[in-house]
Assembly symmetry: C2
Homo-oligomer: 246 residues x 2
């Protein structure tokens, strides 16, 4: 049982919670199991003694470490913790094949800084079969602990990648920018990118100029919708067009 | 300029941030102005010196207090603070007339514990002209600082009230319960209540038994939608039915 704050695994997890650059933290027995099943590479799995007894992970045993409960508490999310934390290599997006899928739409996040909103959009992408999620510069890290949690497991299956605005423009896909008050209210079934901007300033100017504005009809009692709410309605509509559901 | 932590106004705001029972905190110059315009009763408005210079509030001057910046920082939300905090009396819902409106639908939150989600639903109610929002026991306080912030001002205009499950059943309105996997996917235009449950356990059993299940069509890649995302799609559809928009 590890009790020291100087332990290398404890320190690596704590660092990854802050930096989440090359190494990603996944919390909870189900989430860790799902990450392993999705082919993510485990660096280490840390757990408490009570959790170890309940645990039936398919982790190579040499990578499983037991932490004293006080130590575990320092790196655990208080709301969701069930005594299991996995440290994984950050998955590399397959850039070459990322845009292969043309029968659905991609989502690009432009300055969406709130990790909860960014993660929720990944979850919506899974729910409504979007082809992938693109993080433009200034967007929250989709692999940060809060975004991973908000994605409710969808970060394991939805293709995601980072990209510059120039790279996005080079794809040649039709661009749609979510913007309050636009007259267009729906998206095509596929072959397009929906760009979502920040709550404050919306989609940034170079992208907005190249994109068709699209919005959700609302009353005039609100200035705008929360970005995840707008994404929910627009992605759901595109999903219904694609699949004939309602 | 107030510099002491023992100052009564500083202490009342700090207490209201924790308790938000009889007194409600509203932050930001625009939000405070909007609350005054909406007829909320101000107890005190606290601001920093730089904010005071920019301020053109219609508050009676005797209720305006200037706080030292270090003290203000202790009660301000770091992300949104612009140096102005208002302390207001908690608005009382008009219970008698709450259900008068029958041409739209009400939303009831059953165990929605996350204040961000609860506040987002209030914002959606304003966006899609829902008749009001009902907080059932176990739901986050709609007047907590996080919920107020997530409502983006909508808490000032949307009728909200707390209620027991028994009182909800006595309204005689048609009940719809959001539930993953239901075959029904739309709501009526009015004369009904949409009940939203917690992420973990959904709508509680006594209500679920009396309600028609309604869901949003998704892929099978997700177990459920975030409660605010489901609310966005269902309330938007009801709004479109009511207004003929799309």
């Amino acid at each position: 049982v590890i009790t020291s704050r100087d332990n290398r695994w404890f320190r690596r997890v704590r660092d990854a919670l802050r930096e989440h650059d090359a190494e990603i933290v996944i919390e909870g027995p189900k989430a860790v199991r799902d990450a392993l099943a999705a082919g993510w590479n485990p660096i280490a799995v840390l757990c408490t003694e009570p959790a170890l007894r309940r645990l039936e992970l398919e982790t190579p045993e040499r990578r499983l470490y037991v932490l004293a409960r006080e130590l575990f508490r320092e790196i655990a999310d208080t709301k969701t913790s069930q005594g299991v934390i996995g440290l994984f290599e950050r998955p590399l997006a397959d850039r070459v094949r990322f845009f292969d899928r043309r029968d659905s739409i991609f989502v690009a996040l432009d300055g969406v800084q709130d990790p909860g909103n960014a993660g929720t959009v990944v979850r919506l992408a899974a729910a409504f079969d979007a082809a992938g999620v693109i993080a433009l510069p200034g967007c929250a890290d989709l692999f940060s602990p809060k975004a991973v949690r908000a994605s409710a497991g969808a970060i394991l299956t939805v293709p995601v990648t980072g990209m510059t605005v120039e790279q996005l423009l080079e794809t040649g896909l039709d661009l749609y920018a979510a913007a309050a008050g636009a007259t267009r209210h729906d998206l095509p079934a596929g072959n397009a990118i929906l760009i979502l901007g920040s709550e404050g300033s919306g989609v940034s100017s170079p992208l907005r100029q190249r994109a068709t504005a699209v919005s959700v009809a609302t009353t005039r009692n609100v200035e705008s919708l929360n970005v995840a709410a707008a994404a929910a309605i627009l992605l759901w509509r595109s999903f219904c067009t694609r699949t004939g559901r309602e």
